[in-house]
């Protein structure tokens, strides 16, 4: 096991031993089990309700977890001064940074897989089909988690955990509303407002491009090209955040 893998695996181990992660994971599993109860209130749209509720629960809890984990990842290391022993080791700062990010994504990936298996079990037990749009929605969710984790990660290189978490949460909501912000600008009579709305739209990642959950609910297929574009879009934003995080982190003094 190389230095990078050791650090990434350690990140996963850290999250696994963190009470918040365990509680959120357990809560998600209980909620997914509870999906059966929701189906009691539906007569003919069982598949839609289960898909909508199941994917919604997964999205909500994993987004919360990604913000919680990423915002404290580096700021906690810096505050507790564990960073001294890591940054002084024979591993560049950028590799350390990316290994920590990889550890976070591994944690989120394992939780997503566990939740997905339970979600599919629900579907199979209730004789509902597993569809292509559901798979697309799950992949889109993981990409969204990657963008949010990278953003939280960037912020945690210079801000406290609270500030990082608040700004990343703001980014999540603004990212899902960015198309509406753009539309607001086009309808505004003020040139300044229009310009601000447009600038906001381009400055923030449009997270709706990664949201295939409504399509999964209504079983509307997602084209491979659309998935590929979404993947490139997410990787682009994630890479941008990672490069900025590396630039900040490389220059930092750890006093």
């Amino acid at each position: 096991m190389g230095a990078f893998t050791a650090m990434a695996w350690n990140g996963f181990r850290e999250a696994r031993r963190n009470r918040v992660t365990v509680l959120v994971g357990a809560f998600a599993l209980v909620l997914l089990f509870a999906t059966t109860l929701v189906t009691e209130v539906t007569v003919s749209t069982f598949d839609r309700v289960v898909t909508d509720f199941g994917l919604g629960v997964m999205s909500l809890l994993l987004v919360f977890l990604s913000i919680y984990l990423s915002s404290g990842l580096l700021s906690r290391e810096i505050e507790r001064r564990t960073i001294f022993l890591m940054v002084s080791k024979p591993m560049s700062r950028s590799r350390f940074l990316l290994a920590r990010l990889a550890g976070n994504m591994l944690t989120l990936g394992v939780l997503l897989v566990a939740m997905t298996l339970l979600f599919w079990l629900q579907l199979v037990l209730n004789l509902a089909p597993i569809t292509q749009p559901q798979l697309a929605a799950l992949w889109g969710l993981y990409l969204e988690l990657f963008v949010l984790t990278s953003a939280g990660f960037l912020l945690s290189t210079f801000a406290s955990q609270l500030v990082s978490a608040l700004v990343t949460t703001g980014l999540y909501f603004a990212g899902h509303l960015s198309a509406d912000i753009y539309n607001l600008g086009t309808r505004s009579k003020s040139e300044l407002v229009a310009w601000i709305c447009k600038a906001t739209y381009y400055a923030l990642p449009n997270l709706e491009r990664l949201n295939f959950r409504p399509r999964a609910t209504y079983v509307l297929p997602v084209a491979a090209s659309e998935l590929a574009t979404a993947t490139l879009f997410a990787l682009g934003w994630g890479a941008l955040f990672c490069v900025l995080a590396t630039l900040v982190f490389e220059r930092r003094d750890f006093r």
């Binding site: 181990r13 963190n18 220059r251």
Partner: protein
């Protein structure tokens, strides 16, 4: 190498000659502080230092003298404002250079969710160790620092001394050629301090170069070949412990009875130290003055209780250096 250190003009050209484990030229570090970052604290100013292979080198100084800053600059934790620091003739930022260095920071903080064994194993993996070799080394270093039995407990349950020992174990895991220790005996009980000293001496026997900083003078006297005294971010003394101590003219210490301090002061001698004790006076004078002073005391009816040569200690050197620094003993220069 940082942009700042590349731009700075060192005191003399740096050549990657030989294998001096540590070579520092004109190293300075200025921190910006205050809400608007408008104040500057000069934590280190123009430090020059050479540490040769196999030496145990002590950085001595009061709190805020720049000892930890020097170590942080060497370990790449902070970036130099000016000057250069080289480890084995190369930039400390290079991973293959750091592979040869073991580092114990002041008040080390470890991943509390890991056990001591897991933490040391993680450190070994980052150093590129694996398999049976890693397992053997982990076992050995944990035993050396006296953590063999407690190594499977989570670090959050450790005492301060146990954390210090585990942190030392991770510094030793790679069999480093250079060991950098920041206040290694702080937080240890007397037994732990003795063990820490023994480990440092054992590492010296193996030929490891050791740089450590402390304000505990007895540790320096017991362990170091050479010493640099830092005060207010500047180096004020440097040399071998023997040189620094024996370079001073010898003194004589005497205890006098039957004459008050005022009368002794009127004899016209210059005392290095004069102290009124309970019915007695303790004097310290240069060796050359001892004989005439003894005669003068006896002539005036005084009694000599004790006469002995006074050894100039590192503590005296340390206090003298602080006095020379104009009373600025704690913290860097603030502008």
């Amino acid at each position: 190498m940082t942009a700042a250190s590349m731009m700075a003009a060192p005191a003399e050209p740096l050549v990657s000659e030989g294998s001096a484990p540590v070579r520092i030229r004109g190293l300075s570090k200025t921190y910006r502080v205050g809400f608007f970052l408008n104040k500057q604290v000069k934590a280190l100013q123009g430090l020059d230092l050479d540490i040769m292979s196999g030496q145990v080198y002590g950085l001595l100084g009061p709190n805020g003298a720049g000892k930890s800053t020097t170590i942080k600059l060497l370990m790449g934790l902070v970036r130099a404002s000016q000057g250069q620091a080289l480890l084995f003739g190369e930039s400390p930022d290079r991973p293959h250079v750091r592979r040869q260095v073991g580092f114990l920071p002041e008040n080390p903080s470890l991943y509390e969710y890991l056990t001591g064994r897991e933490f040391v194993t993680l450190a070994g993996r980052i150093f590129g160790l694996s398999g049976h070799d890693l397992d053997q080394r982990v076992e050995r270093v944990l035993g050396e620092v006296g953590m063999g039995r407690a190594s499977d407990l989570q670090i959050r349950r450790y005492s301060k001394g146990m954390v210090q020992r585990t942190a030392l174990a991770q510094a030793l895991i790679s069999g480093p050629r250079l060991l950098v220790l920041d206040e290694p005996t702080s937080g240890l009980d007397p037994l732990g301090r003795r063990q820490m000293r023994d480990i440092i001496l054992a590492e010296r026997e193996k030929g490891t170069t050791i740089l450590f900083c402390t304000h505990i003078i007895s540790d320096v006297e017991a362990l170091c070949d050479r010493v640099a005294v830092l005060v207010g971010g500047r180096r004020v003394q440097e040399g071998s412990v023997q040189e620094l101590v024996s370079a001073r003219a010898p003194s004589v210490e005497m205890v006098v009875q039957g004459l008050p301090l005022e009368q002794l002061q009127s004899l016209g001698f210059v005392y290095e130290q004069a102290q009124q004790l309970d019915g007695r006076v303790m004097l310290r004078v240069p060796d050359a003055d001892a004989h005439p002073l003894l005669q003068a005391i006896i002539n005036r009816g005084g009694r000599i209780n004790r006469v002995q040569p006074a050894r100039f200690s590192l503590e005296d050197l340390f206090l003298e250096a602080m006095k020379q620094a104009g009373g600025q003993t704690v913290g860097g220069e603030i502008q």
